[in-house]
Protein backbone atom coordinates (compact mmCIF):
# COMPACT_ATOMS: atom_id res chain seq x y z
CA UNK A 1 0.00 0.00 0.00
CA UNK A 2 2.50 2.58 -1.03
CA UNK A 3 1.06 6.07 -0.94
CA UNK A 4 2.01 6.95 -4.49
CA UNK A 5 0.75 3.76 -6.12
CA UNK A 6 -2.22 3.89 -8.44
CA UNK A 7 -5.36 2.51 -6.90
CA UNK A 8 -6.52 -0.93 -8.02
CA UNK A 9 -10.14 0.06 -7.73
CA UNK A 10 -11.26 3.63 -7.94
CA UNK A 11 -14.89 4.49 -7.40
CA UNK A 12 -16.05 7.98 -8.30
CA UNK A 13 -19.50 9.37 -7.71
CA UNK A 14 -21.16 5.96 -7.82
CA UNK A 15 -24.93 6.24 -7.74
CA UNK A 16 -27.25 3.27 -7.70
CA UNK A 17 -30.94 3.79 -7.67
CA UNK A 18 -33.84 1.41 -7.98
CA UNK A 19 -36.97 2.30 -9.86
CA UNK A 20 -39.78 0.75 -7.87
CA UNK A 21 -43.53 1.12 -7.97
CA UNK A 22 -43.38 3.27 -4.84
CA UNK A 23 -40.82 5.63 -6.32
CA UNK A 24 -37.10 5.91 -6.81
CA UNK A 25 -34.87 4.44 -4.13
CA UNK A 26 -31.42 6.00 -3.95
CA UNK A 27 -29.54 3.12 -2.36
CA UNK A 28 -26.08 4.48 -3.11
CA UNK A 29 -25.91 8.21 -3.59
CA UNK A 30 -22.62 9.47 -4.94
CA UNK A 31 -19.86 7.68 -3.10
CA UNK A 32 -16.16 7.61 -3.84
CA UNK A 33 -13.31 5.57 -2.44
CA UNK A 34 -10.30 3.71 -3.66
CA UNK A 35 -8.74 0.36 -2.91
CA UNK A 36 -5.03 -0.31 -3.32
CA UNK A 37 -3.24 -3.49 -4.28
CA UNK A 38 -3.08 -5.95 -1.41
CA UNK A 39 -4.87 -3.89 1.21
CA UNK A 40 -8.04 -4.58 3.13
CA UNK A 41 -10.57 -1.81 3.08
CA UNK A 42 -13.38 -1.99 5.59
CA UNK A 43 -16.77 -0.73 4.48
CA UNK A 44 -18.86 -0.12 7.58
CA UNK A 45 -22.39 0.97 8.22
CA UNK A 46 -25.78 -0.04 9.54
CA UNK A 47 -28.07 -2.40 7.65
CA UNK A 48 -29.57 -0.66 4.65
CA UNK A 49 -26.91 2.01 4.26
CA UNK A 50 -25.91 0.73 0.82
CA UNK A 51 -22.84 -1.38 1.57
CA UNK A 52 -24.01 -4.48 -0.22
CA UNK A 53 -25.50 -2.53 -3.09
CA UNK A 54 -22.09 -0.90 -3.56
CA UNK A 55 -20.47 -4.32 -3.93
CA UNK A 56 -23.18 -5.59 -6.26
CA UNK A 57 -22.87 -2.41 -8.33
CA UNK A 58 -19.15 -2.90 -8.77
CA UNK A 59 -19.74 -6.32 -10.35
CA UNK A 60 -23.04 -5.20 -11.89
CA UNK A 61 -24.90 -8.10 -10.38
CA UNK A 62 -28.05 -6.03 -10.03
CA UNK A 63 -30.89 -6.41 -12.46
CA UNK A 64 -31.09 -3.30 -14.64
CA UNK A 65 -33.95 -2.30 -14.64
CA UNK A 66 -35.10 -1.86 -11.87
CA UNK A 67 -31.58 -0.83 -10.87
CA UNK A 68 -29.70 2.01 -12.52
CA UNK A 69 -25.98 2.44 -11.92
CA UNK A 70 -24.15 5.69 -12.69
CA UNK A 71 -20.72 7.09 -12.03
CA UNK A 72 -17.42 5.39 -12.62
CA UNK A 73 -15.87 2.23 -11.28
CA UNK A 74 -12.29 2.03 -12.53
CA UNK A 75 -10.60 -1.28 -12.04
CA UNK A 76 -6.96 -1.21 -13.06
CA UNK A 77 -7.71 1.63 -15.47
CA UNK A 78 -10.83 0.28 -17.17
CA UNK A 79 -14.25 1.61 -16.34
CA UNK A 80 -16.32 -1.44 -15.47
CA UNK A 81 -19.56 0.43 -15.99
CA UNK A 82 -18.59 1.04 -19.61
CA UNK A 83 -18.09 -2.65 -20.40
CA UNK A 84 -20.69 -4.80 -22.14
CA UNK A 85 -22.21 -7.93 -20.56
CA UNK A 86 -19.49 -10.19 -21.91
CA UNK A 87 -16.74 -7.86 -20.72
CA UNK A 88 -18.12 -7.76 -17.19
CA UNK A 89 -18.57 -11.52 -17.18
CA UNK A 90 -14.87 -11.97 -17.93
CA UNK A 91 -13.97 -9.79 -14.94
CA UNK A 92 -16.31 -11.57 -12.53
CA UNK A 93 -14.64 -14.38 -10.68
CA UNK A 94 -11.42 -13.84 -12.60
CA UNK A 95 -10.19 -10.38 -11.52
CA UNK A 96 -12.84 -9.52 -8.97
CA UNK A 97 -14.71 -12.14 -7.03
CA UNK A 98 -17.26 -12.03 -4.30
CA UNK A 99 -17.97 -13.81 -1.04
CA UNK A 100 -21.57 -13.71 0.05
CA UNK A 101 -23.17 -13.26 3.39
CA UNK A 102 -25.24 -16.43 3.53
CA UNK A 103 -23.12 -19.55 3.12
CA UNK A 104 -26.19 -21.72 3.72
CA UNK A 105 -27.95 -20.52 0.57
CA UNK A 106 -25.04 -19.48 -1.64
CA UNK A 107 -24.23 -23.02 -2.75
CA UNK A 108 -26.48 -24.86 -5.16
CA UNK A 109 -28.07 -27.82 -3.35
CA UNK A 110 -28.11 -30.03 -6.46
CA UNK A 111 -24.45 -29.67 -7.45
CA UNK A 112 -21.44 -31.28 -5.81
CA UNK A 113 -19.12 -28.92 -3.96
CA UNK A 114 -16.27 -29.77 -6.31
CA UNK A 115 -18.38 -28.96 -9.37
CA UNK A 116 -19.29 -25.57 -7.99
CA UNK A 117 -15.75 -24.63 -7.07
CA UNK A 118 -14.35 -25.81 -10.37
CA UNK A 119 -16.81 -23.70 -12.31
CA UNK A 120 -14.77 -20.49 -12.13
CA UNK A 121 -11.61 -22.27 -13.27
CA UNK A 122 -13.45 -23.86 -16.16
CA UNK A 123 -14.96 -20.56 -17.21
CA UNK A 124 -11.87 -18.37 -16.98
CA UNK A 125 -8.86 -20.67 -17.23
CA UNK A 126 -10.13 -23.00 -19.96
CA UNK A 127 -9.43 -26.03 -17.83
CA UNK A 128 -10.86 -29.42 -18.70
CA UNK A 129 -13.32 -31.02 -16.34
CA UNK A 130 -10.65 -33.20 -14.71
CA UNK A 131 -8.11 -30.40 -14.36
CA UNK A 132 -10.71 -28.10 -12.84
CA UNK A 133 -11.81 -30.85 -10.46
CA UNK A 134 -8.26 -31.38 -9.22
CA UNK A 135 -7.95 -27.62 -8.89
CA UNK A 136 -11.15 -27.51 -6.83
CA UNK A 137 -9.77 -30.20 -4.51
CA UNK A 138 -6.62 -28.12 -4.09
CA UNK A 139 -8.76 -25.11 -3.24
CA UNK A 140 -10.62 -27.10 -0.59
CA UNK A 141 -7.29 -28.21 0.84
CA UNK A 142 -6.14 -24.61 0.88
CA UNK A 143 -9.16 -23.46 2.84
CA UNK A 144 -8.39 -26.25 5.30
CA UNK A 145 -11.25 -28.61 4.69
CA UNK A 146 -10.18 -32.03 5.97
CA UNK A 147 -10.35 -34.86 3.44
CA UNK A 148 -10.78 -32.57 0.41
CA UNK A 149 -10.86 -35.48 -2.05
CA UNK A 150 -13.99 -37.02 -0.67
CA UNK A 151 -15.47 -33.71 0.44
CA UNK A 152 -15.42 -32.41 -3.12
CA UNK A 153 -17.73 -35.25 -4.11
CA UNK A 154 -20.33 -34.31 -1.54
CA UNK A 155 -23.36 -32.09 -1.84
CA UNK A 156 -23.65 -28.85 0.16
CA UNK A 157 -26.10 -30.32 2.69
CA UNK A 158 -23.23 -32.36 4.12
CA UNK A 159 -21.29 -29.19 4.92
CA UNK A 160 -21.67 -27.07 8.03
CA UNK A 161 -22.04 -23.31 7.79
CA UNK A 162 -18.38 -22.66 8.45
CA UNK A 163 -17.30 -25.27 5.92
CA UNK A 164 -19.61 -23.83 3.32
CA UNK A 165 -18.14 -20.40 3.86
CA UNK A 166 -14.68 -21.93 3.45
CA UNK A 167 -15.86 -23.54 0.24
CA UNK A 168 -17.18 -20.19 -0.92
CA UNK A 169 -13.83 -18.59 -0.13
CA UNK A 170 -12.11 -21.36 -2.06
CA UNK A 171 -14.47 -20.69 -4.95
CA UNK A 172 -13.77 -16.97 -4.90
CA UNK A 173 -10.00 -17.53 -4.79
CA UNK A 174 -9.87 -20.21 -7.45
CA UNK A 175 -8.87 -17.86 -10.28
CA UNK A 176 -6.49 -15.90 -8.09
CA UNK A 177 -8.41 -12.62 -8.32
CA UNK A 178 -6.83 -9.29 -7.51
CA UNK A 179 -9.81 -8.05 -5.56
CA UNK A 180 -12.33 -9.83 -3.38
CA UNK A 181 -15.57 -8.22 -2.34
CA UNK A 182 -16.46 -9.89 0.94
CA UNK A 183 -20.04 -9.01 1.79
CA UNK A 184 -20.41 -9.72 5.51
CA UNK A 185 -18.56 -13.02 5.21
CA UNK A 186 -18.89 -13.86 8.89
CA UNK A 187 -22.25 -12.42 9.84
CA UNK A 188 -24.11 -15.71 9.54
CA UNK A 189 -21.50 -17.69 11.47
CA UNK A 190 -21.00 -18.16 15.18
CA UNK A 191 -18.13 -16.45 16.92
CA UNK A 192 -15.55 -19.24 16.98
CA UNK A 193 -16.12 -20.00 13.31
CA UNK A 194 -15.95 -16.27 12.58
CA UNK A 195 -12.48 -16.17 14.06
CA UNK A 196 -11.38 -19.17 12.00
CA UNK A 197 -12.74 -17.68 8.79
CA UNK A 198 -11.13 -14.33 9.53
CA UNK A 199 -7.71 -15.80 10.18
CA UNK A 200 -8.07 -17.92 7.06
CA UNK A 201 -8.89 -14.87 4.97
CA UNK A 202 -6.01 -12.96 6.52
CA UNK A 203 -3.59 -15.77 5.71
CA UNK A 204 -4.82 -16.22 2.15
CA UNK A 205 -4.73 -12.50 1.57
CA UNK A 206 -1.07 -12.37 2.50
CA UNK A 207 -0.34 -15.46 0.44
CA UNK A 208 -2.09 -14.25 -2.71
CA UNK A 209 -1.57 -10.48 -2.31
CA UNK A 210 -5.26 -9.99 -2.91
CA UNK A 211 -7.01 -6.77 -2.04
CA UNK A 212 -10.20 -7.17 -0.03
CA UNK A 213 -13.17 -4.91 0.38
CA UNK A 214 -14.60 -6.14 3.65
CA UNK A 215 -18.20 -5.16 4.09
CA UNK A 216 -19.43 -5.52 7.64
CA UNK A 217 -21.16 -3.88 10.51
CA UNK A 218 -18.92 -5.63 13.00
CA UNK A 219 -16.24 -3.19 14.12
CA UNK A 220 -14.38 -5.98 15.87
CA UNK A 221 -13.81 -7.65 12.54
CA UNK A 222 -12.67 -4.32 11.10
CA UNK A 223 -10.16 -3.78 13.89
CA UNK A 224 -8.68 -7.17 13.21
CA UNK A 225 -8.59 -7.19 9.42
CA UNK A 226 -8.80 -3.80 7.80
CA UNK A 227 -6.07 -1.27 7.22
CA UNK A 228 -8.44 1.51 6.23
CA UNK A 229 -12.09 2.13 6.94
CA UNK A 230 -14.85 3.84 4.99
CA UNK A 231 -17.97 4.55 7.02
CA UNK A 232 -21.24 4.80 5.11
CA UNK A 233 -24.55 6.21 6.23
CA UNK A 234 -27.76 6.26 4.18
CA UNK A 235 -26.02 5.81 0.85
CA UNK A 236 -23.22 8.29 1.46
CA UNK A 237 -19.67 8.12 2.75
CA UNK A 238 -19.48 10.02 6.04
CA UNK A 239 -15.92 9.28 7.10
CA UNK A 240 -12.75 7.62 5.91
CA UNK A 241 -9.68 6.94 8.04
CA UNK A 242 -6.88 4.48 8.62
CA UNK A 243 -8.10 1.83 11.02
CA UNK A 244 -6.07 2.99 14.03
CA UNK A 245 -7.32 6.53 13.74
CA UNK A 246 -10.92 5.56 13.44
CA UNK A 247 -10.78 3.83 16.79
CA UNK A 248 -8.59 6.46 18.43
CA UNK A 249 -10.13 9.60 17.02
CA UNK A 250 -13.46 9.19 15.27
CA UNK A 251 -14.57 12.54 13.86
CA UNK A 252 -18.07 12.03 12.58
CA UNK A 253 -20.79 11.81 15.25
CA UNK A 254 -22.11 8.71 13.53
CA UNK A 255 -18.77 6.94 13.77
CA UNK A 256 -18.52 8.01 17.38
CA UNK A 257 -21.96 6.56 17.98
CA UNK A 258 -21.01 3.27 16.31
CA UNK A 259 -17.89 2.96 18.42
CA UNK A 260 -19.79 3.92 21.57
CA UNK A 261 -22.27 1.13 21.03
CA UNK A 262 -19.69 -1.66 21.20
CA UNK A 263 -20.03 -3.54 24.47
CA UNK A 264 -16.74 -4.25 26.19
CA UNK A 265 -16.74 -7.52 28.04
CA UNK A 266 -15.22 -7.31 31.49
CA UNK A 267 -15.59 -3.58 31.80
CA UNK A 268 -17.50 -2.79 34.96
CA UNK A 269 -20.24 -0.37 34.02
CA UNK A 270 -20.96 2.20 36.67
CA UNK A 271 -24.47 1.86 37.98
CA UNK A 272 -26.88 3.87 35.86
CA UNK A 273 -24.59 4.00 32.84
CA UNK A 274 -26.00 1.97 30.02
CA UNK A 275 -24.46 0.91 26.78
CA UNK A 276 -24.74 3.83 24.39
CA UNK A 277 -27.00 3.62 21.42
CA UNK A 278 -27.72 5.81 18.44
CA UNK A 279 -31.34 6.92 18.80
CA UNK A 280 -33.73 6.44 15.91
CA UNK A 281 -33.35 4.33 12.82
CA UNK A 282 -31.71 4.66 9.42
CA UNK A 283 -33.90 6.88 7.24
CA UNK A 284 -35.75 5.20 4.40
CA UNK A 285 -33.73 5.65 1.20
CA UNK A 286 -36.88 6.97 -0.42
CA UNK A 287 -37.24 9.84 2.03
CA UNK A 288 -33.78 10.93 3.00
CA UNK A 289 -33.75 13.98 5.28
CA UNK A 290 -32.70 17.33 3.92
CA UNK A 291 -29.24 18.59 4.78
CA UNK A 292 -26.99 16.12 6.56
CA UNK A 293 -28.64 12.72 6.42
CA UNK A 294 -27.62 11.95 9.97
CA UNK A 295 -28.98 15.13 11.52
CA UNK A 296 -32.25 13.74 12.95
CA UNK A 297 -30.24 11.25 15.00
CA UNK A 298 -27.16 13.33 15.66
CA UNK A 299 -26.44 14.32 19.28
CA UNK A 300 -24.40 17.33 18.18
CA UNK A 301 -26.72 18.71 15.56
CA UNK A 302 -26.43 22.42 14.70
CA UNK A 303 -28.75 24.61 12.66
CA UNK A 304 -27.08 24.32 9.35
CA UNK A 305 -27.13 20.50 9.45
CA UNK A 306 -30.88 20.62 8.90
CA UNK A 307 -30.90 22.22 5.46
CA UNK A 308 -27.40 22.12 4.01
CA UNK A 309 -25.47 19.02 3.05
CA UNK A 310 -22.08 19.03 4.71
CA UNK A 311 -19.09 19.02 2.32
CA UNK A 312 -16.47 16.29 2.33
CA UNK A 313 -13.53 17.69 4.25
CA UNK A 314 -10.17 16.15 3.55
CA UNK A 315 -7.94 16.16 6.62
CA UNK A 316 -5.12 14.03 5.23
CA UNK A 317 -4.52 11.67 2.31
CA UNK A 318 -6.78 8.95 3.62
CA UNK A 319 -8.59 10.94 6.22
CA UNK A 320 -11.80 12.69 5.34
CA UNK A 321 -15.06 13.41 7.04
CA UNK A 322 -18.35 14.90 5.96
CA UNK A 323 -19.60 16.99 8.86
CA UNK A 324 -20.30 20.68 9.49
CA UNK A 325 -18.52 20.49 12.84
CA UNK A 326 -15.23 20.08 11.03
CA UNK A 327 -15.48 23.23 8.96
Amino acid sequence: MSESAKPLLEIKDLRTRFHTLDGIVNAVDGIDFEVYQGETLGLVGESGCGKSVTALSILQLLRCPPAEIQGSVRFDGTNLLGLDREGVRKIRGNDISMIFQEPMTSLNPVLKIGEQISEAARVHKNMTRQQAWRWAVEMLRMVQIPGPNSRARQYPHKFSGGMRQRAMIGMSLSCNPRLILADEPTTALDVTIQAQIMSLMQRLKEEFKTAIVLITHDLGVIAEMASRVVVMYAGKVVEEAPVKEIFKDPRHPYTQGLLGSIPVIGRKEQSGRRLQEIPGIVPSPMKTPLGCRFHPRCPRVINRCCDQQPPMIRLAKHRRVSCWLET
Binding site: G93, L107, S150, K158
Partner: protein
Protein backbone atom coordinates in the same frame (compact mmCIF):
# COMPACT_ATOMS: atom_id res chain seq x y z
CA UNK B 1 -5.85 -40.82 11.58
CA UNK B 2 -6.89 -38.38 8.93
CA UNK B 3 -7.21 -41.13 6.37
CA UNK B 4 -9.53 -43.17 8.53
CA UNK B 5 -11.67 -40.10 8.97
CA UNK B 6 -11.72 -39.48 5.26
CA UNK B 7 -12.91 -43.01 4.58
CA UNK B 8 -15.80 -42.64 6.96
CA UNK B 9 -16.83 -39.41 5.35
CA UNK B 10 -16.74 -41.00 1.92
CA UNK B 11 -18.89 -43.95 2.91
CA UNK B 12 -21.52 -41.90 4.63
CA UNK B 13 -21.61 -39.62 1.61
CA UNK B 14 -22.54 -42.51 -0.66
CA UNK B 15 -25.11 -43.79 1.74
CA UNK B 16 -26.93 -40.48 1.66
CA UNK B 17 -27.17 -40.36 -2.13
CA UNK B 18 -28.55 -43.91 -2.12
CA UNK B 19 -31.01 -42.90 0.54
CA UNK B 20 -32.30 -40.01 -1.50
CA UNK B 21 -33.62 -42.22 -4.26
CA UNK B 22 -34.47 -44.89 -1.71
CA UNK B 23 -36.64 -42.42 0.14
CA UNK B 24 -38.46 -41.25 -2.96
CA UNK B 25 -39.10 -44.90 -3.83
CA UNK B 26 -40.24 -45.64 -0.28
CA UNK B 27 -42.66 -42.73 -0.35
CA UNK B 28 -43.99 -43.79 -3.74
CA UNK B 29 -44.36 -47.37 -2.54
CA UNK B 30 -46.46 -46.30 0.42
CA UNK B 31 -48.86 -44.57 -1.94
CA UNK B 32 -50.81 -47.65 -3.06
CA UNK B 33 -52.90 -45.72 -5.58
CA UNK B 34 -49.84 -44.39 -7.36
CA UNK B 35 -48.37 -47.87 -7.31
CA UNK B 36 -51.47 -49.22 -9.07
CA UNK B 37 -50.99 -46.52 -11.69
CA UNK B 38 -47.34 -47.47 -12.09
CA UNK B 39 -48.14 -51.19 -12.44
CA UNK B 40 -50.81 -50.48 -15.07
CA UNK B 41 -48.36 -48.34 -17.03
CA UNK B 42 -45.88 -51.19 -16.82
CA UNK B 43 -48.51 -53.56 -18.24
CA UNK B 44 -49.14 -51.21 -21.16
CA UNK B 45 -45.43 -50.77 -21.80
CA UNK B 46 -44.81 -54.53 -21.73
CA UNK B 47 -47.71 -55.26 -24.03
CA UNK B 48 -46.44 -52.59 -26.41
CA UNK B 49 -42.94 -54.07 -26.37
CA UNK B 50 -44.02 -57.71 -26.72
CA UNK B 51 -47.08 -57.22 -28.92
CA UNK B 52 -45.96 -59.73 -31.59
CA UNK B 53 -45.36 -62.34 -28.90
CA UNK B 54 -48.67 -61.74 -27.13
CA UNK B 55 -50.62 -61.61 -30.35
CA UNK B 56 -49.08 -63.45 -33.26
CA UNK B 57 -50.42 -62.43 -36.63
CA UNK B 58 -51.57 -59.12 -37.98
CA UNK B 59 -54.02 -57.10 -35.91
CA UNK B 60 -55.33 -55.47 -39.06
CA UNK B 61 -56.00 -58.51 -41.24
CA UNK B 62 -59.78 -58.80 -41.71
CA UNK B 63 -61.65 -62.05 -41.27
CA UNK B 64 -65.20 -61.32 -42.32
CA UNK B 65 -66.40 -64.78 -41.27
CA UNK B 66 -65.97 -63.78 -37.63
CA UNK B 67 -67.48 -60.30 -37.86
CA UNK B 68 -68.77 -58.79 -34.57
CA UNK B 69 -68.42 -61.94 -32.49
CA UNK B 70 -68.91 -61.73 -28.75
CA UNK B 71 -66.01 -62.59 -26.43
CA UNK B 72 -64.93 -66.24 -26.70
CA UNK B 73 -61.96 -68.19 -25.38
CA UNK B 74 -60.07 -67.66 -28.62
CA UNK B 75 -60.87 -63.94 -28.79
CA UNK B 76 -61.28 -62.96 -25.16
CA UNK B 77 -62.60 -59.50 -26.00
CA UNK B 78 -64.54 -60.46 -29.10
CA UNK B 79 -64.08 -59.24 -32.67
CA UNK B 80 -64.92 -56.06 -34.52
CA UNK B 81 -66.94 -55.47 -37.67
CA UNK B 82 -64.14 -56.85 -39.86
CA UNK B 83 -63.64 -59.89 -37.65
CA UNK B 84 -60.35 -58.67 -36.15
CA UNK B 85 -59.50 -59.57 -32.56
CA UNK B 86 -60.20 -56.58 -30.31
CA UNK B 87 -57.63 -57.76 -27.74
CA UNK B 88 -54.98 -57.91 -30.45
CA UNK B 89 -55.88 -54.46 -31.67
CA UNK B 90 -55.79 -53.07 -28.15
CA UNK B 91 -52.36 -54.62 -27.56
CA UNK B 92 -50.99 -53.18 -30.79
CA UNK B 93 -52.86 -49.96 -30.08
CA UNK B 94 -50.86 -49.50 -26.86
CA UNK B 95 -47.80 -49.14 -29.08
CA UNK B 96 -49.41 -46.32 -31.02
CA UNK B 97 -50.73 -44.58 -27.92
CA UNK B 98 -47.45 -44.78 -26.01
CA UNK B 99 -45.44 -43.61 -28.99
CA UNK B 100 -47.79 -40.67 -29.46
CA UNK B 101 -47.67 -39.84 -25.74
CA UNK B 102 -43.86 -39.95 -25.68
CA UNK B 103 -43.66 -37.89 -28.87
CA UNK B 104 -46.05 -35.29 -27.48
CA UNK B 105 -44.17 -34.75 -24.22
CA UNK B 106 -40.94 -34.70 -26.22
CA UNK B 107 -42.29 -31.84 -28.36
CA UNK B 108 -43.63 -30.11 -25.26
CA UNK B 109 -40.32 -30.41 -23.41
CA UNK B 110 -38.07 -29.52 -26.33
CA UNK B 111 -39.86 -26.22 -26.94
CA UNK B 112 -41.47 -25.56 -23.58
CA UNK B 113 -38.48 -25.90 -21.25
CA UNK B 114 -36.01 -23.62 -23.12
CA UNK B 115 -38.68 -20.98 -23.75
CA UNK B 116 -39.81 -21.14 -20.13
CA UNK B 117 -36.23 -20.86 -18.87
CA UNK B 118 -35.45 -17.89 -21.10
CA UNK B 119 -38.74 -16.19 -20.34
CA UNK B 120 -38.34 -16.55 -16.59
CA UNK B 121 -34.62 -15.80 -16.37
CA UNK B 122 -34.33 -12.76 -18.59
CA UNK B 123 -37.72 -11.20 -17.90
CA UNK B 124 -38.47 -7.84 -19.47
CA UNK B 125 -39.40 -7.62 -23.13
CA UNK B 126 -38.40 -11.20 -23.96
CA UNK B 127 -40.63 -12.47 -21.17
CA UNK B 128 -43.45 -10.21 -22.27
CA UNK B 129 -43.25 -11.47 -25.85
CA UNK B 130 -43.15 -15.15 -24.92
CA UNK B 131 -45.90 -14.79 -22.35
CA UNK B 132 -48.32 -13.04 -24.70
CA UNK B 133 -47.89 -15.83 -27.25
CA UNK B 134 -48.44 -18.34 -24.44
CA UNK B 135 -51.55 -16.47 -23.33
CA UNK B 136 -52.92 -16.62 -26.83
CA UNK B 137 -52.34 -20.36 -27.05
CA UNK B 138 -53.77 -21.01 -23.60
CA UNK B 139 -56.89 -19.06 -24.51
CA UNK B 140 -57.91 -21.99 -26.69
CA UNK B 141 -58.98 -25.15 -24.94
CA UNK B 142 -56.08 -27.60 -25.44
CA UNK B 143 -58.06 -30.04 -27.52
CA UNK B 144 -59.46 -27.34 -29.75
CA UNK B 145 -55.94 -26.10 -30.45
CA UNK B 146 -54.79 -29.61 -31.35
CA UNK B 147 -57.88 -30.00 -33.53
CA UNK B 148 -57.18 -26.75 -35.37
CA UNK B 149 -53.54 -27.66 -35.88
CA UNK B 150 -54.28 -31.15 -37.17
CA UNK B 151 -56.79 -29.75 -39.62
CA UNK B 152 -53.99 -27.59 -41.02
CA UNK B 153 -51.26 -30.23 -40.92
CA UNK B 154 -53.33 -33.23 -41.99
CA UNK B 155 -53.90 -36.68 -40.55
CA UNK B 156 -51.39 -39.35 -39.51
CA UNK B 157 -49.29 -40.28 -36.47
CA UNK B 158 -46.62 -37.65 -37.08
CA UNK B 159 -49.06 -34.79 -37.43
CA UNK B 160 -51.04 -35.99 -34.43
CA UNK B 161 -47.87 -35.87 -32.34
CA UNK B 162 -46.89 -32.43 -33.62
CA UNK B 163 -50.29 -30.84 -33.12
CA UNK B 164 -50.94 -32.25 -29.65
CA UNK B 165 -47.31 -31.53 -28.76
CA UNK B 166 -47.65 -27.88 -29.74
CA UNK B 167 -50.81 -27.59 -27.68
CA UNK B 168 -48.74 -28.84 -24.67
CA UNK B 169 -45.91 -26.34 -25.17
CA UNK B 170 -47.60 -23.37 -23.43
CA UNK B 171 -48.29 -25.51 -20.34
CA UNK B 172 -44.58 -26.29 -20.03
CA UNK B 173 -43.59 -22.68 -20.68
CA UNK B 174 -45.87 -21.44 -17.90
CA UNK B 175 -44.78 -24.11 -15.46
CA UNK B 176 -41.06 -23.68 -16.05
CA UNK B 177 -41.24 -19.88 -16.08
CA UNK B 178 -43.03 -19.81 -12.75
CA UNK B 179 -40.42 -22.03 -11.12
CA UNK B 180 -37.52 -20.11 -12.66
CA UNK B 181 -38.90 -16.86 -11.30
CA UNK B 182 -38.36 -18.11 -7.77
CA UNK B 183 -35.12 -20.03 -8.37
CA UNK B 184 -33.38 -17.18 -10.21
CA UNK B 185 -33.50 -15.07 -7.03
CA UNK B 186 -31.65 -17.70 -5.03
CA UNK B 187 -28.27 -16.76 -3.64
CA UNK B 188 -26.52 -19.58 -5.45
CA UNK B 189 -27.64 -18.20 -8.80
CA UNK B 190 -26.18 -14.85 -7.86
CA UNK B 191 -23.02 -16.58 -6.65
CA UNK B 192 -22.76 -18.37 -9.98
CA UNK B 193 -23.13 -15.06 -11.76
CA UNK B 194 -20.49 -13.56 -9.51
CA UNK B 195 -17.89 -16.07 -10.69
CA UNK B 196 -18.60 -15.18 -14.31
CA UNK B 197 -20.57 -18.24 -15.35
CA UNK B 198 -22.23 -17.94 -18.75
CA UNK B 199 -26.01 -17.62 -18.83
CA UNK B 200 -26.37 -20.89 -20.75
CA UNK B 201 -24.52 -22.75 -17.99
CA UNK B 202 -26.46 -20.96 -15.25
CA UNK B 203 -29.71 -21.95 -16.89
CA UNK B 204 -28.78 -25.55 -17.63
CA UNK B 205 -26.66 -26.46 -14.61
CA UNK B 206 -27.92 -24.25 -11.82
CA UNK B 207 -31.55 -23.52 -12.54
CA UNK B 208 -32.89 -26.45 -14.59
CA UNK B 209 -32.06 -29.19 -12.02
CA UNK B 210 -33.86 -27.17 -9.39
CA UNK B 211 -37.09 -27.08 -11.41
CA UNK B 212 -37.06 -30.74 -12.49
CA UNK B 213 -39.59 -31.93 -9.91
CA UNK B 214 -42.61 -30.05 -11.27
CA UNK B 215 -41.50 -30.88 -14.81
CA UNK B 216 -41.44 -34.59 -13.96
CA UNK B 217 -44.93 -34.45 -12.51
CA UNK B 218 -46.25 -32.42 -15.42
CA UNK B 219 -44.76 -34.93 -17.85
CA UNK B 220 -46.58 -37.84 -16.28
CA UNK B 221 -49.87 -35.92 -16.34
CA UNK B 222 -49.24 -34.77 -19.92
CA UNK B 223 -48.77 -38.36 -21.08
CA UNK B 224 -52.30 -39.12 -19.91
CA UNK B 225 -53.71 -36.03 -21.58
CA UNK B 226 -51.82 -36.82 -24.79
CA UNK B 227 -53.34 -40.31 -24.96
CA UNK B 228 -56.79 -38.84 -24.42
CA UNK B 229 -56.31 -36.17 -27.08
CA UNK B 230 -54.88 -38.67 -29.57
CA UNK B 231 -57.85 -40.95 -28.98
CA UNK B 232 -60.16 -37.99 -29.43
CA UNK B 233 -58.59 -37.11 -32.77
CA UNK B 234 -58.71 -40.77 -33.81
CA UNK B 235 -62.38 -40.98 -32.84
CA UNK B 236 -63.16 -37.98 -35.00
CA UNK B 237 -61.31 -39.63 -37.87
CA UNK B 238 -58.65 -36.92 -38.17
CA UNK B 239 -55.96 -38.59 -36.10
CA UNK B 240 -54.32 -41.92 -36.79
CA UNK B 241 -56.06 -43.56 -39.74
CA UNK B 242 -57.52 -47.07 -40.01
CA UNK B 243 -56.48 -49.81 -40.42
CA UNK B 244 -53.79 -48.82 -37.90
CA UNK B 245 -55.06 -50.15 -34.58
CA UNK B 246 -55.59 -46.93 -32.62
CA UNK B 247 -57.89 -46.90 -29.61
CA UNK B 248 -59.75 -43.74 -30.53
CA UNK B 249 -60.24 -44.83 -34.13
CA UNK B 250 -61.48 -48.23 -32.91
CA UNK B 251 -63.99 -46.45 -30.73
CA UNK B 252 -65.04 -44.30 -33.65
CA UNK B 253 -65.78 -47.17 -36.01
CA UNK B 254 -67.49 -49.18 -33.23
CA UNK B 255 -69.98 -46.37 -32.71
CA UNK B 256 -72.26 -47.72 -35.47
CA UNK B 257 -72.62 -51.09 -33.71
CA UNK B 258 -73.06 -49.71 -30.22
CA UNK B 259 -76.44 -51.44 -29.64
CA UNK B 260 -75.81 -54.53 -31.72
CA UNK B 261 -72.32 -55.32 -30.35
CA UNK B 262 -71.48 -53.06 -27.39
CA UNK B 263 -68.24 -54.91 -26.56
CA UNK B 264 -66.58 -53.48 -29.70
CA UNK B 265 -66.76 -49.98 -28.28
CA UNK B 266 -66.44 -50.87 -24.60
CA UNK B 267 -63.01 -52.48 -24.51
CA UNK B 268 -61.04 -49.80 -26.41
CA UNK B 269 -62.81 -47.26 -24.18
CA UNK B 270 -61.68 -49.13 -21.08
CA UNK B 271 -58.14 -49.26 -22.46
CA UNK B 272 -58.11 -45.47 -22.93
CA UNK B 273 -59.68 -44.89 -19.54
CA UNK B 274 -57.16 -47.07 -17.69
CA UNK B 275 -54.17 -45.62 -19.52
CA UNK B 276 -55.14 -42.02 -18.78
CA UNK B 277 -56.07 -42.88 -15.21
CA UNK B 278 -52.80 -44.67 -14.52
CA UNK B 279 -50.67 -41.77 -15.79
CA UNK B 280 -52.67 -39.34 -13.67
CA UNK B 281 -52.37 -41.52 -10.58
CA UNK B 282 -48.65 -41.90 -11.07
CA UNK B 283 -48.30 -38.15 -11.60
CA UNK B 284 -50.11 -37.42 -8.35
CA UNK B 285 -48.00 -39.97 -6.52
CA UNK B 286 -44.79 -38.55 -7.95
CA UNK B 287 -45.80 -35.07 -6.86
CA UNK B 288 -46.14 -36.24 -3.28
CA UNK B 289 -43.04 -38.45 -3.36
CA UNK B 290 -40.78 -35.79 -4.86
CA UNK B 291 -41.96 -33.02 -2.56
CA UNK B 292 -39.47 -32.86 0.29
CA UNK B 293 -42.05 -31.25 2.54
CA UNK B 294 -44.06 -34.46 2.80
CA UNK B 295 -42.10 -36.58 5.21
CA UNK B 296 -42.76 -40.25 5.69
Amino acid sequence: MTEIKEDNVCQSGERVTENRFGRIWAKLKRNKVALVGGVLILVYVLSALFAPVLFPGSPSAPNLMKSLESPTLKDPLGTDELGRSILGRIIYGSRISLIIALGVVFVGIIFGIPLGLISGYYGGKIDFGIQRITDTMLAFPGFLLALALVSVLGVGIKNTVISIGISMVPLYIRLVRGCVLSVREEDYVEAARAVGTRDVIILSRHILPNVMVPITVQTSLSMGTAILFAAGLGFLGIGVQPPTPEWGAMLGSARSYLFHAPHVATFPGVAIFLAVLSFNLLGDGLRDALDPRFKI
